[in-house]
């Protein structure tokens, strides 16, 4: 099950982080930070390989005994990370893709909000509610 969803900005500043268990929030911040390096590595690798298909979805970034982290990067360099409990193997790759797509759509909607300045931490309630819903539905 997905335990945490995070957004990282263009210059790698944290934009948004929401997790099911509030007490683990700090730990997830550390994992997000680790993921930034993996994202960069993945992008360089896929550029070098010269393949024509370059997806926004990056796949598995990082896995430990407790959690797995999946990554997604938009063309505008916004990184989205989903952290999943390792004990759960029910969530399939295409389901994770679907969650990323929903998150990306939600973000593009958010940027169109005149009261949101791009680059600021995200405080929108409707955006938060959508992320909560996704977390709840995938658990």
């Amino acid at each position: 099950m997905a335990v945490c969803i995070g957004f990282i900005g263009k210059e790698n500043s944290p934009l948004f982080l929401r997790c099911i268990n509030q007490s683990q929030e700090l730990q997830f911040h550390y994992i997000m930070h680790t993921c930034i390096d993996f994202v960069e590595e993945k992008i360089i690798q896929s550029n070098k390989s010269g393949s024509d298909v370059r997806e926004l979805y990056l796949g598995l970034l990082y896995s430990s005994e407790e959690v797995k982290a999946y990554g997604f990067v938009t063309n505008t360099k916004i990184k989205i990370v989903i952290i999943i409990d390792s004990t759960n193997s029910l969530l399939r790759d295409n389901e994770i893709r679907a969650i990323f797509r929903k998150l990306h759509n939600a973000y593009t909607e958010l940027v169109c909000n005149p009261f949101y300045t791009p680059g600021d931490p995200i405080t929108s309630k409707s955006f938060g509610a959508l992320v909560d819903e996704l977390l709840a539905s995938s658990s």
Partner: protein, 158 residues
């Protein structure tokens, strides 16, 4: 199409609103131009987020510029850029032979000197879009014979 004209009129009104002071006098100063550019910048910055949603990831800056010429230009101006040139050192020249905001202005010398203010918004639009895609740049525009114009993009290397 009537709905296309709406954007043209809105742009015309923005330009005239910004360049006219409260007293109704025409001001062509830097302040008005930078305000117009700023409007374009934030529009481009937000717009590109939505436009690139379904595109695959860009490999390098040339690919970004191609996307600007094709997808971005056709989304905003309903046509593609006619010519893209580069020196491969961070300078790109985008030429549009029938620029939308100039298309309805007569081609005479009388209006030529008034043309630049109709390009400033687009300069900002380009700068904003590129900034959002991670490329810092300076955009300048020039018009020699209407309705053709050129946008020069100078990328700033880190």
């Amino acid at each position: 199409m009537a709905d296309d004209a709406l954007f043209d009129f809105l742009h015309m009104e923005i330009v005239s609103h910004v360049t006219k002071s409260d007293a109704g006098l025409l001001q062509d100063g830097d302040e008005a131009m930078s305000k117009l550019e700023q409007i374009g910048y934030s529009t481009g910055y937000r717009f590109i987020e939505r436009l690139t949603k379904d595109l695959s990831r860009f490999k390098d800056e040339l690919e970004v510029m191609k996307a600007i010429c094709k997808d971005f230009w056709s989304a905003v101006f309903k046509k593609q850029v006619d010519n893209l040139r580069t020196n491969h050192q961070g300078v790109y020249v985008l030429q549009d032979n029938k620029f939308r905001f100039l298309a309805s202005i007569s081609n005479s010398r009388q209006y030529l000197e008034l043309a630049p203010k109709y390009l400033v918004f687009t300069c900002g639009l380009l700068r904003g879009a590129l900034a959002s895609l991670g490329l810092t740049c300076i955009v300048t525009a020039e018009v020699t014979t209407m309705p053709a114009c050129k946008f020069q993009v100078h990328l700033q290397r880190a």
